[in-house]
Structure formats: structure tokens, C-alpha cells
């Protein structure tokens, strides 16, 4: 079973979400829900750090992209941290995903 852990840090109205483990079709919906439920009405900015993700597939990328689009549509700043050397960074680079 695909296993991912999600950590949350809140500073005032800024939220940092750290993802570790693996994300694929089996747990993408759960991750999406967990990320969405962390956002409050007062949130100003969200940073998602995927540097520690060991694996992410296209379903996981879709979750990240739609989460980013949703936040921007309600004027919440979104930042993705995905070093080029990390597995997630590599997949993002290969697909040219622009979030």
C-alpha cells in the first residue's frame, strides 16, 4: 500500500506542507483532502515541500496542479519546493509542469 506522510507548520497565516513517502493513484485523493483541509479562510500563503517525496506519479502531479490553481483562484499565494535533484523535481521537470 502506498504510504505518504504529511506534516503541517503554521506561522501566522502562512502554511507550510511537507510531503514525504510516495504518492500515486492509491493515496492521491487522501493527500488532496488533507492539504485542502489545512487551508483556513485566513490563509495568506501556502508552501508545499516535496523534496522528501520518494515517488510521485502523474496522478500526484495532477493533485498538486489543481491544488495550486484552486489556491490562486482565491488569492492565496502558492509556492512549490521541488529541488531538481529530488525524485519529484525530476518528474516535474520531465512533464514541464508549471505550478
Amino acid at each position: 500500500m502506498t504510504d505518504a506522510t504529511l506534516t503541517l507548520e503554521t506561522h501566522d497565516n502562512d502554511i507550510r506542507i511537507g510531503l514525504a513517502g510516495e504518492v500515486d493513484m492509491a493515496n492521491a485523493d487522501k493527500i488532496q483532502q488533507q492539504m485542502a483541509s489545512a487551508i483556513t479562510n485566513d490563509t495568506m500563503s501556502v508552501t508545499v515541500d516535496v523534496a522528501d517525496l520518494r515517488y510521485i506519479d502523474s496522478t500526484g502531479l495532477r493533485v498538486l496542479a489543481s491544488f495550486a490553481a484552486r489556491l490562486r483562484s482565491i488569492d492565496i499565494e502558492f509556492t512549490l519546493i521541488a529541488p531538481a535533484t529530488s525524485p519529484a523535481g525530476r518528474v516535474i521537470e520531465l512533464t514541464g509542469l508549471n505550478v
Binding site: M1, G21, M25, R62, V91, L94, T95
Partner: protein, 542 residues
Amino acid sequence: MATEGIDARPEEHVGLEHQLQRFEALTDAGLAYLDTNDLLVELLDRLRDVLEVDTAAVLQMDESESHLVATVARGIEDEARQGVRIPVGHGFAGQIASDRHPRIIEHVDNGNVLSPVLRRKGISSLMGVPLISLGTLIGVLHVGTFRLRRFTDADVELLQAVGDQMALAIQARTSIAERAAVVALQRSLMPAYLPQVPGLSAAARYVPAEGRALGGDWYDLFTLPNGQVCVAIGDVVGHGLRAAVVMGRLRSALRAYAFDGFTPDEVLARLHRKLQHFEPGEMATLLYATFDPSLERVALSSAGHLPPLVATLDGGTSSYVDIPPDPPLGVAPDDLASRHTTTIEIPPGGVLCMYTDGLIERRHEPLDDGLARLQSTFVADDPDELCTSLMSTLVGSDEPRDDIAVIALRRDVPRAHNAIVVPAEPASLALVRLAMRRWLAGAGASAEDTDDLVVAVGEAAANAVKHAYGAQRGTVEVHLDFAAGEAIARIRDTGSWRRAREGNHGRGILLMERCSDDLRIAQSAAGTEVTLRRKLRKGVPP
């Protein structure tokens, strides 16, 4: 008080020797097949007849050895039904237990009898004897009368004779029951079969010591959701039910800590603290190892356990793993910070062997001789054959004086063709990736080749799961071949892909293309086969 109204049986009425002989004959012949409770009931009833008393009861020492608990009572059944507890050293029965001497009370009153049942029932006179077996006090037997009664020395002798028989019977039946419980417990604690781990072969042996000693040795092999493979072997000091129970608790706690993601040293530190708190005075040695998901590396931590052995294919030599033995569990003061984890590499074909001291220890022989004998016997072989040869060479036909546990694990040699078939369900994807990583690691593929191929095959398998079968069930086959420096992956289903719906289908195909040198998708009525080829930059594929 006058002696009127006190029963004292006339001498001619007694015929004690005769009665005792009859009693013993009945005891030996008729009662051998009764369980403990039925036996005691029968003996108490016969005792009531022979001694002409109204009540008879057995109280047994509880586990804490601080209280007597009424277990069987006749004439005063409530005593046992209510589980009356009498502190050792207090009251009538409690004093018999502490003095280990017979005792008689002719006039029961509140000051000399604690049992509320005895007092409420209106018992007037009591006589009791200690139940002693092999020097150990196991309980108290007493009889009572509603009328005042003067018990004689002969009465005490008879009661003690019956008590001695009861004590032996209780002790013998307890030992048999305990032994059966230990065997049942140990069976339930050893894995009934070792889990199938793709890329790893495993075999184990467990032989309990001959005769009296059933011990606290155990081994365990299990996998974690992240693909790690965990192996443990341990030895609880002591024997019998107690050691087996401690072993069972350690085993469960180890699995729980491992499941929470702790490293080997952290797992052992937590086990140590748990043992000290909940089972003070118990001690165990333990060796715990985790294979990383690719099976290339093993992280080990030792709590005073003998070192594991590793044998590799090149040269076939074996060596002990240089691992600092931290203190056994349960002895030293809290040491959460001071334990160590050692990481070693296991090449393809390499064997890791863990064992308990029973395998190598011989009377009148230095431990080093045993270690040397084990090392010279140990080669990189099939684990099952290895276990067989270790047992026949090191144990032979000797009756083992201590428990023996051995577990051997071999990382499979790389193969030119690898395959796995999984249900077409999202939960299978992690397993497909794990299998891919193990095959590629075995072939010596670089991290970049491995990651890209895992992504490409992951996408192809996800497509099959999502699009091939609709609401039907089906399977996905993943094959990985190595040929001429190239990895060829084929992902097959027997359904028909439907159109993508969420808009990431294109991204999945893009990832497959970008992560391989060549991508072909062949769709037919029989199903879909995706073939991905990638030149390996590094490594010597088989």
C-alpha cells in the same frame, strides 16, 4: 467452657491406619485421569466422609505469592465461588501458609478466622494443613465442623497425608498444563510460515531444548508498508511459561515500534525501556535488522546478542558482521541515547544469518571455538539447505541443552527475466515499484536509470489499473528483462483502455516517453501491452 457438646470420636471407632490405606488405594487407582478441579472435588468429598467433617476446602497460593485463593470447597461452596482471598500470615489459613505447620481451632471467632464465608456459615472447629510439594508451599487444605469438635493428632496426620497427595497431584498437573501452554504459546509466536518477499529467500529453524527446559528463544520476519523487510532473533533469559510470555510481549512490541518507522537502535532502546517498566527483572538479548526496500543494505542493532554472519558469492567466504553489541534489554539503566545502528551492504547472492547461542555453545568449550565452527560451516547457499547443513553439522544427534533458533536470508542473484502479476488495483502500484527497484538494484542499475524506469513502469501500470477493466476485476503483469545492456519492461493487461477523463492521461504518456528510450503501446482485442526500453548507463545486467 465445659467439654460437653464437643465431638471426640472413641478410639475404637477410628481404625485410622485402615482408613488411610483405603483412602490411598482409592486415590491412586480411581483418580489418575481426573483434571485438577475434579480430582480435588473428589478428594474433598472422600475426606468429608472419612473424617466425618462438614466442610473441606483447598486454597492455592496466587501468582504474587502474597495471597491464598479458595479454589475448591465442599460444604462451603461459596468460599470458592466468591474467590475468597486470604493474605499469607493472617487468619487461620494465612498462618498455616506462613508457618507451614498444621493448625487447629476449636472455637472459631472473628479474631482467628478471616474468611467471611466460614464465619457466616457458623463453622465451630477447624483443622488445616499446608500443601507442600518439593519444598514449595502451594496452598492450604482445611476441614471444619458445625458442631464443636476436638481434632486428634491422628486426624491431623490423616489430613496431612491427604494434603501431601493433593500437593503432588496439583504440582504435577500444573507442570503438565504449563508445559502444554508454553508449547502452544511458542507455536503461536513463531511465524507459521515465513512471508514471501520478492527478491529474498528465507529459511529458519527452531528446536526447543530437551527435557525440562522450554525457553524464550524466538525469531521473526515481516515486511513494512514502505517495502522494508525486518528480521529479529532473540533470547529471553530463563525458561518456562514466564520466559515464553515475556518473549511474546517483546515480539509484539518490536513489531509495533518497527511499524512506527523507528530505526533498529531506536526500536531496541524503546523495547529496553518497556521491558524495564512492565517486566522488571527480566532480561533478553536481541538482534534486529532491517533490509531497505531495494534489499541492498541492512541496518542492524544488537542488544548483547551474538554477531550475525554474512557470506557472499565471491570466494564463498563468510565473516562475522562487526557490530558493537549494546547492552541486553532490561539490565542497564535507561539508555535511549546510547544504542547504535550499523549498516552493511548485502551483494546479490549474499546470505545473512542470525542465530541464538544454543547453536554454537557446547559444554566445557570456549565460545570462540563454537563461533569458529559455525563460520567454517557457513557458505553462501540456498537458505533452506544452509539451515539443514548448519543443524546437522553443529547439532547433529546431540540432545540440545538450550533452545536453538536460526534464520538465514539470501538476496536473490539477478535474473535475466523477472515478472510479477498483481491485481489491477491502486494498492498494487506500490508493490510493482518495489519489485522494479529490487530487480534493478540486483542488476546494478544506476539511481537515475532506476528512478526513471520506476516512473515509466509506474505510469503504465497505473494506466492499466485505471483504464483497462472498468468496474471488472483483472490483473496486470509486469515483466523486466535485461539484454545487451538494456532494460526492457513490458506491462500487460487483458482489458481495453478507455479514454482518459481527468486530463492527466497525456502527462502519464509524456512521462513514459521521457523516462525511456523507446515506448510502444500495442492495443488489441486481447488487451494492451506497453513496452518500454532503456539503455542502462551503468551496471552489469545478467
